[in-house]
Amino acid sequence: MLLSLAPSALPIGIHGIEKRFGALSILSDLSLDVAAGEFLTLLGPSGSGKTTLLMILAGFVRANAGSIKVGGEEIITMPPHKRNIGMVFQNYALFPHMNVFHNIAFPLKQRRVSAAETAERVERALDLVQLKGLGERRVDQLSGGQRQRVALARAIVFEPRIVLMDEPLSALDKGLREHMQIELRNLHRRLGMTTVYVTHDQREAITMSDRIAVMNAGRIEQIDQPEVLYARPKTKFVAGFIGESNFIPVECRNGSVWYEDRKLRMNDPAPSAGRHLMVVRPEKLRLLADADQARPVNALPATVGDVIYQGDSFICYATLRDGRQVTLRDYCRSDVLAKLPAPGEPITLGIDAQDVVLVTDQ
């Protein structure tokens, strides 16, 4: 282990955070626990309050109420320079008047680390982010990806208790962004620092996180592991924000769930009453052959609207009997491809009992 962060990784306890700008409420009664060494992502659309929460954690924005405990110690009123929290800014915020070495050495200089140890630690940090030998470069001589790495090295070189990242990859192009996602995740696994990551990119969140907190209008809608969040969204917002979803209105009566006149098979216990939406991911829908009808799947009769071939997969837009449009996606295996329906053809869509997820219709 190059930098030994794991032993000092601390949990964060966020409790009852309130933030208002005038009459506008940005965060309301927000509570969240981050485990020591966890990679937690705050995911949400712009204006959901995720960046404000990060700024409150870093100490740049003062909350109206609430508590932030790092390893049990209250830091809500602590000035930013005493918090010992590393942060990677959206635009990197590298110091333009210093070269790469002095940028990374900056936090060590503030902590009066000796020159020899500073040189050694900066060297190790540069090595860690794969920028060995670039210490003498000026910041304006670096590419976007290199600046990103310098910002990261600067944020972890002083072995902070927590690392915060504010959409750090949003300025990079797609290929580099995907590469850096993997790199950041591996770095986190190696160093084990407690990390709070902010993004509006759901794919990025799913790729990198141990857990994701989906934020909407200043509240946390759901906080779960990526696979749980995707497979079992708890609200319509979460289902719509993460991945694609078909929403099919269903009714609950007599302890079972009905779509039109069909009783749905499902593994989850049925809600007692009320209007709900069935969340169906495009890849969970299947084209059923007549022979499949006997299997314990939910069959939905529909008419094909359009079939779009995309090489590795195809998308089928179909219209249910009630006129609702749904999307189906499947891979182009030979057996599927052979039976591809034509536009206007009647088909039966199938969804397994285990894939039936209901959210309340708000």
Binding site: A58, G59, F60, P79, P80, H81, K82, R83, N84, I85, G86, M87, F89, Q90, N91, A93, L94, F95, P96, H97, M98, N99, F101, H102, F106, P107, Q110, R111, R138, R154, A155, F158
Partner: protein, 307 residues
Amino acid sequence: MSIGSASLGHAVRQDGELNARALRSDARRQALGLLALLSPGLFLVFAVIIVPIGWLFWLSLFDESGQLSLANYARFFEQASYIKTFATTFKVAFVVTGACVLFGYPLAYMLSQLPRRAASICLIFVILPFWTSVLVRTYAWLVILQRKGLINNWLIDLGVIGQPLPLANNFAGVVIGMTHIMLPFLVLPLYASMKTIDVDCLRAGMNLGASPAATFRQIFFPLSLPGLASGVVIVFVLCLGFFVTPALMGGGKVIMWAMRMEQATSLYSNWGAGAALGVVLLAVTLALLGLFQWLLGARATGVWSQR
């Protein structure tokens, strides 16, 4: 056969120089066209800069009897009053520039930190005197600073002092008046450069463990230096050639370069002497600008990061 090979050779030659002549003449035509478009500007530069400066230089080479000589330049080394004027000019320029930095830096810093609305209102108060005549402002200072002026009267009435303070018609008066006039020239470029400093850089500084004071010292101040330098250069160079305020506020005791030029031409009708003064002032100003340029250039290529 021979025809075939000849035509082949011709074709090869043509491939390498296809339309080459037409393209060359097109490039030439475009260059001439651009020159024609530039010519009014070039003529203006020639007529109002090159010609007068050349004439000034030419005039400086003749003594009072119209003989070609270097007498006008020899005076700089021979006459003590010339050397004294030179020293006074630099002394005033240094002190005024220093005073402008002393007052202007905190002012520009405050402006840069204020919310936008408040900053633009405060900026009006910086710019407003800028639009008022220098003569009017200088006379206003005379009214305020003179022996029986506002300040001395108040201080005596309040019993703070027994004798009026010598605030006008001396070095202090010149410095006060010029500082007031020069301040916007320092504040405006400095404010503009401070506004471009990324707030996230300052946040990053604090986040990385620098106290607010350390963040100012290590990040904000170095990043504001280019703006400060350009403000300082403007103020210093303007001070070197300043006439109205020192002439009125100096009471004849503070003789600056431009005043001596005025004396030489209008009092003694010695155009050669005045022209020589102008040439030397121009040369010194250009040398200073070059020096600043060189210093700033060295800075930009990473002198700071060596520390």
